[in-house]
């Protein structure tokens, strides 16, 4: 991989630090009028999710991390691994629950997700911003109550629990914002 000097550090750049793939969050240039320049850099460790703040001498460099974001179709879960396919090359990848993380709440077969690969293996999975999922369990729908009013929990086909309006029933399909976990609207089938 290429090396990146501190003055090339941009937000989102993926670099190796202490043997861990990291994403740069912020790079502050600190330079006295007379004297050595420094860069105070905040990075997210992509393995642990922890944020590091590290000070560099300006001009030092880090090795780029072989981290790429790729669109992939979610295929299925075999009980241990989640399987994805690159729709271009048809190459298949398996991700464990650690890599999939909270995205597991939103993975529907054939949906296209962003899979972040590190050295060719899935490091993390980002679901589409909006997904359409079926309600598999909720209290019975209250007819006529379509406007304002209360909410109730609904269990979706993926196992996620979302607060939905009272009028919805089992079997209906709803659209959810995966970034907030919030109900958007009912999807007419």
């Amino acid at each position: 991989m290429a090396n990146y000097s501190t003055n090339e550090f941009r937000n989102g750049l993926k670099v190796m630090l202490d043997g861990e793939p990291c994403s740069i969050l912020d790079n502050e240039f600190v330079k006295p009028g007379k004297g050595q320049a420094f860069n105070r850099v905040r990075l997210r460790n992509l393995n642990s999710g922890r944020v590091w703040e590290r000070t560099f001498k300006s001009g030092e460099s880090l090795e780029g991390a072989d981290v790429i974001d790729q669109s992939m179709e979610y295929l299925y879960n075999d009980g241990e691994f989640y399987h994805f396919m690159d729709p271009e090359s048809f190459e298949q990848f398996q991700a464990d629950l650690k890599a999939v993380g909270d995205a597991s709440n939103w993975l529907k077969e054939q949906d296209v997700c962003t899979v972040t690969l590190y050295n060719g293996a899935p490091l993390s999975v980002t679901p589409p911003n909006f997904v359409e999922l079926e309600i598999v369990e909720t209290d019975p729908g209250v007819k006529g109550d379509t406007a304002q009013g209360g909410t109730k929990p609904a269990y979706l086909s993926t196992g996620a629990v979302v607060k939905v309006p009272l009028f919805l029933s089992v079997g209906e399909v709803i659209k959810v914002d995966t970034r907030t976990g919030e109900y958007q609207n009912r999807v007419k089938s």
């Binding site: 240039f29 006295p32 007379k34 320049a37 001498k57 001009g59």
Partner: protein, 317 residues
């Protein structure tokens, strides 16, 4: 995309223009002459921590440099008998980009004959007051700020004590045996943020190893000190002032030191300014200070980013 638009709004640009006018009026009142020296220079400063932007001469035969500070040319004017002078000009420094830095920036630099370093600090306070209103000044020696905020003496602490102190405050990705790098790191990353934000702090009596082009002297304990100061306000370095070195032989020695450090780091070795060397013989006793004008404008506008007080920073130039 609206990349063609200025990053500063017009209220900020208008405040900046007022501040320029106020600075000029103040110097006119004090009998300091405004001058204008070349931005395109044959010899840049040799300071290893400052990289000039290079270009070619108009005939295409030689390298030339966008000046990193008007210091050398202004000293030639002083040596030629100008009396006290000031300049507001663009200066250029390669690689310096950040919240408070743009590689092309505006410098306010002035030299005073017959003023002491203390009187120059007073004048800096008057200029800062043009931007922020009446402001209290505090004076600390370099030793005092290190003792107070780092619990060590910058002149006596061992290299390993300096490293331990820096590592206690910061997660570092480098190591070096250069004492000054550790002192500069502690100054800029530990001490500077702890200086009172509401008053002007002057730090003076730097270690002689950081003299740049200031005179040096021994104090009562036999420690070599540089007669220079830095001014800080609102957690930000604003100005660097010097009792100016006038000894041509000492100047050559310091330039050689700079070149040696540059060679170690595989940096370019810029030519020596022969005009300046010749002028040193008649350079009068004087004090001089360089102030980042954009930072002064940031204070006047009460903003945190240099982009908010300049129309077109690097990415929109």
């Amino acid at each position: 995309m609206s990349d063609w638009r200025p990053t500063a709004d017009f209220s900020a640009l208008s405040r900046r223009a007022q501040l320029l006018a106020a600075v000029r009026a103040l110097f006119a009142e004090r009998g300091v002459l405004e001058v204008d020296t070349p931005l395109l220079a044959t010899a840049p400063v040799t300071d290893p921590n400052i990289e000039a932007i290079t270009t070619v001469s108009p005939d295409g035969d030689a390298l030339m440099y966008l000046q990193t500070s008007p210091e050398f040319a202004m000293k030639r004017l002083l040596a030629a008998g100008s009396g006290s002078i000031y300049q507001i000009c663009k200066a250029f420094r390669r690689g310096e980009r950040g919240r408070r830095h743009n590689p092309e920036f505006t410098m306010l630099e002035w030299y005073r004959i017959g003023l002491s370093l203390q009187e120059l600090m007073d004048e800096v306070a008057v200029i800062v007051a043009l931007a922020v209103g009446p402001v209290e000044s505090h004076y600390y020696s370099y030793q005092q700020v290190f003792e107070r905020h780092c619990g060590l003496s910058p002149h006596h602490a061992s290299l390993s004590e300096l490293k331990a102190c820096a590592r206690a405050h910061l997660d570092l990705h480098f190591d070096t045996d250069d004492r000054d790098v550790w002192l500069q790191l502690l100054m800029s990353s530990v001490i500077e943020p702890l200086l009172d934000r509401e008053s002007l702090s002057f730090v003076y009596d730097f270690p002689a190893s950081q003299a740049a082009l200031a005179n040096t002297r021994s104090n009562a304990d036999g420690i070599q000190l540089a007669s220079r100061f830095e001014a800080f306000y609102a957690g930000m370095e604003l100005a660097n002032g010097y009792d100016e070195l006038r000894d041509a032989n000492e100047l050559v020695r310091r330039i050689r030191d700079d070149h040696a450090r540059r060679a170690e780091n595989n940096q370019i070795l810029p030519p020596i300014d022969r005009h300046l060397l010749k002028a040193m013989a008649t350079l009068p006793e004087c004090v001089g200070v360089a102030m980042g004008f954009d930072r002064l404008a940031m204070l006047a506008c009460d903003v945190e980013r240099i982009d908010e007080v300049i129309a077109f920073p690097l990415e929109r130039a």
